[in-house]
Amino acid sequence: MKPVLRASNLSKRFRKTNALDGVYLDIHPGEVVALIGRSGCGKSTLLRCISWLDEPDDGLVELEGKPFGREITAGGVVRRHSARQIAAMRPRLGLVFQALNLWPHLTALENVVRGQVVVLGRDRPTAEAKAAALLERLGLGRLLARHPQELSGGERQRVAIARALAMDPALLLFDEPTSALDPETVGEVLGLLRGLAEGGMTMLIVTHEIGFAARVADRVAFMDYGRIIEEGPAAQVLSSPREPRFAAFLDQVLRHRDTNGDD
Amino acid sequence: MDFDIDLFLQALPILARAVLLNLQLAAAIIVLAVLAATVLTLVRAAKWPPVSLVIDLLISMVRGTPLLIQIFICYYGLPAIGLNLSPIAAGILAISANSMIFLSEAMRGGLGGIEPGQVEAATALGLPSRAIWLRVVLPQLFTRILPILTAELTIVVKATALLSVITVVEVLRTAQQMSAATYRPFEHLLAAAVVFLVANLAIGAAGRVLEARLAAGRA
């Protein structure tokens, strides 16, 4: 089965540090991959490079088998894609930011509609129907006319997810979907993600919720200093890590979790 | 294009000396304006409805009419109701009044930025009203509006050029007199522009240095 996403040898340098140091990652249709690691290990940079919001210094990305961002021509030359080419492929990649970045001057409904109309060229009635349906499914049926400033953190998170889903993506990327939420809402959002996963959505989730990764993810990848140190089936890798750094990280997180008593 | 650069260069030192009058006027005006604005703000804080209403109307009028007209009213209009002022006095009055209004509005904004908790604490400690103003509110207010004061000073310096219209012999009027004598207005007016440019850039720079010093002192 062809991978939905194939990232090869992604590298990115900021000043003197290697934010990404040769990252390889495949994601197959229907898979849920959890990306975990300490802060600063390069998880967010990886998401930004995969979605070509930042251009990696080296490496290639393939989306549904097609090169994305840059390609190697028949003559072996690296050719950058134009902004238009990149924009055309972006709808297939749903990105939910840590900061959400909802558009404050638009209503919740319009946040989900605008992309469909402007980028995909759908007509307004269709776009609005789809947006309304999505937002209802996510429990926001009565909040369509509200602006993001009037919504709670969890509600905004769901609008952001709806906005990405409305574009009919092949893959959803999440950057720390629960880090800015209070404990009750965390559970709700994780349940939502689990629902999406069970519905067959392909997802790459950067998270620090190990328990969630254990229950919902098919594969887990651990990053440290810009490289993926260990990767494999969730249950196996989390219960018996092979890399010492990963084992130490899990140990630290579990110990902290026991003190907090949350799960 | 026959720009007489010698004439331009010769005019510069003369006009640089003339601009000193502008700067002196501006200094006097800003001091008056700050004092008057403080008093006005205190009066507004008392919130006596009839007084505050009149003040609001005056603010609206001063903010909605050109400074040049305000200067004309002080110079040409006041004698008609018995108050004869010299050009300089009329000019200082008009610009100070104008500046006072804008500064009071700036102070109103500055007040909004002070933490209410400070005033509550002072009241709870039993400080009398005067002490709260003098020791809690006003010091913070002045620190807050320092950048606005610098901006207002440049505005006042520029405003003094308008006094040339009511015969005050400051830098613009001097430049105009020199132009009349030589039939070459452009070189002299350009020199006047340069003089103002230098003066205001210097004031701006001095203001930034002062702000930095104050910020360092508070840190």
């Binding site: 992309g115 | 507004r44 007209i69 050029a161 308008l162 007016l189 103002f196």
Partner: protein, 240 residues
């Protein structure tokens, strides 16, 4: 000495003519000045140091020199470049160049104030740069630009009084003429002041209308502490 209203009513047409000219000048100078402001702001946001230096020089110059001098320099300088414009156009151009310096800073600051993430999310959904500007960044800039722009426009309208020095027949010029004929400076300038004030109110009202159309206007913050409000609030109309 009484206030002779008759003087005003007799010469009202002349003053109203002047007011009309002031309004025309203000509108034209606003359009031209804002166009300059947008161009300069775009230039200031381009990569590279040279555009930024040029824009900084433009902004710094016209904000440091009194408008009356800027006006004279342009008025007497244009013939040097073999450009001969009627006084009215010179006035409009001078006002536009002057106000443009302020508009530039306002627009540039507003664009830079939009969080970078907004641009990211627009791109993430597949919008091109022009689409992102039109649907996401632009609207946010417009809303934040209106208050400061209104302020500048009002200042520009008031500076237009200075145009009387190059014999443009706007309100101040007409006022000086009427005053010369009637020797009633107090009445005349009071009437002129009221006319300017009316124009200013109209501009402020127009700005509020634009603000409402562009999106929700900000609500005023209410100081909740009664005790603090005695010192820190000048709102005498609010019941506490």
């Amino acid at each position: 000495m009484g206030f002779d209203v008759g003087v005003i009513t007799k010469h009202a047409p002349a003053l109203l003519d002047g007011a009309l000219v002031t309004i025309q000048i203000t509108i034209l100078a606003f359009i031209l000045g804002y166009a300059i402001g947008i161009l300069m702001a775009v230039a200031a946001l381009l990569p590279g140091r040279l555009p930024k230096i040029v824009v900084a020089a433009y902004v710094g110059t016209f904000r440091s020199v009194p408008f009356i001098i800027t006006l004279f320099v342009i008025y007497y300088g244009l013939p040097f470049a073999d450009i001969r414009l009627p006084a009215f156009m010179v006035g409009v151009v001078a006002l536009a160049v002057f106000s443009g310096a302020y508009y530039t800073e306002i627009i540039r600051a507003a664009v830079q104030a939009v969080p970078r993430g907004q641009f990211d999310s627009a791109r993430a959904v597949g919008m091109t740069y022009p689409q992102a500007m039109r649907h996401v960044i632009g609207p946010q800039v417009v809303r934040s630009v209106i208050p400061a722009s209104t302020n500048t426009t009002l200042s520009m309208m008031k500076e237009s009084a200075v145009l009387s020095s190059i014999t443009i027949g706007e309100l101040t010029y007409q006022g000086l003429i009427v005053q010369g004929e009637t020797f009633a400076p107090f009445e005349v300038f009071a009437a002129v002041a009221v006319l300017y004030w009316t124009i200013a109110i109209a501009i402020a009202a127009a700005a509020r209308w634009v603000e409402i159309r562009a999106g929700r206007a900000e609500t005023k913050a209410v100081l909740r502490s009664r005790v603090a409000a005695r010192y820190l609030s000048l709102d005498w109309r609010v019941r506490r």
